[in-house]
């Protein structure tokens, strides 16, 4: 353990190496470390933001879903009401139409009956006249009793 000039040489080497490290080694590594730390911090922040966005979107979608359901229910209720209304209307129309047809038919039947009665009356009168003619041919003159016959015809 003797002291000699090695001491000073070592001293110089010491500073040269320290200078080199300071100049070429330390800055890039520390820069990389800092940048990575920043990246990780940014990433974490972005993840946090994403989580919040997701929560917001979930809430919004739930709201939209509920709203849609409500609207659909309302639409269905309206449609049902409208359908019932339409059925009622149709029923009323059908009933009116049926009444009208029945009334028409009744009137026609009545007319027909009147006409038939008229015809029948004519025919009966003709028959009666024919019968009477035949009866009276032997006994009386048709012309002499025509007024009586007319009266009878009128009473039929």
């Amino acid at each position: 353990m003797n002291l000699n000039a090695t001491l000073f040489a070592q001293l110089v080497v010491f500073f040269i190496l320290a200078w080199f490290t300071m100049q070429f080694v330390w800055p890039p590594i520390v820069k990389a470390l800092d940048e990575r730390a920043k990246k990780i911090a940014d990433g974490l922040a972005a993840a946090e933001r994403g989580k919040q966005d997701l929560e917001l979107a979930t809430k919004r979608s739930t709201d939209a879903l509920r709203e849609g359901k409500e609207k659909a229910a309302e639409l269905i209720a309206n449609a049902e009401k409208r359908g019932a209304q339409l059925i009622e209307e149709a029923k009323a129309n059908a009933k009116a139409e049926a009444d009208r047809i029945v009334a028409g038919a009744k009137a026609e039947i009545e007319q027909e009956a009147v006409r038939a009665k008229e015809q029948l009356r004519e025919q009966v009168a003709a028959l009666v006249v024919t019968g009477a003619e035949q009866i009276l041919r032997r006994e009386i003159n048709a012309q002499a009793h025509s007024d009586i016959l007319a009266t009878i015809k009128q009473d039929l």
Partner: protein
Amino acid sequence: MAAGSAAPTSGEYIVHHLTHLNSTGHAQKSVIDWSVINIDTMFYSIVLGLATVFVLWLAARKATSGVPGRFQAAVEILVDMVSEQAKGIIHSAESRKFVSPLALTVFVWIFFMNAMDLLPVDLLPKIGEMFGIHYQRVVATADLNAALGMSLGVLLVCLYYNIKIKGLGGWIHELFTAPFGSHPLLYPVNFVMQMIEFVAKTVSHGMRLFGNMYAGELVFMLIALLGGTATVFGFVGHIIAGSIWAIFHILIITLQAFIFMMLTLVYVGQAHEAH
């Protein structure tokens, strides 16, 4: 001992292994001789220093803020560790721009130099001998010059920041008024205390690392000597003791590198604090 001398004694073996390859070619005679330089220490510390900055640079070159590879992640863990420690100790971001890289370099560099202890003690010296290099010590931090050289570097950084933060006048004022207080009678006492503090910090900083590594190296040599007895006991003892010590030494080399780095940060941090 010189090559070719057959079967050195235990003492000769240890002394041989503790002799540096220096610019004179033989062991240094006086305790302090500034005309001598240890070639082996310089060689290994520079090579490992270059390896340190090269490895770190490799990671820095491709550093991306995206997904890191394993290598980049490993270096990042180191950088982050040093950076966190520096943030806790030195509150000036401006100073950290230099001191943090310095601490990182010191940590990795000392770790590499310490790790040379884990190579078999005779491996590199024997290879050296094949090329005519008869003395070699491969653990640079087990050389007091290297350890003190680095702690002296830290002292210079401390002095620089003392003057930069407090101003030359402020610092000199502090030298005479801290730690006991501002009173003319206390000026010399304060100054002496400050000087002792600086010397003690620097010497203990370097000595701690040197002592640990020197002792560790010595234990490895003793274990090698145990195996060198070429008996069954020696062989088994070498394997068991060598394994245990090497595993334990993994902790020591890391711990010593970490301690050196932490003390560097603490001392520089102290230079920032006004008393």
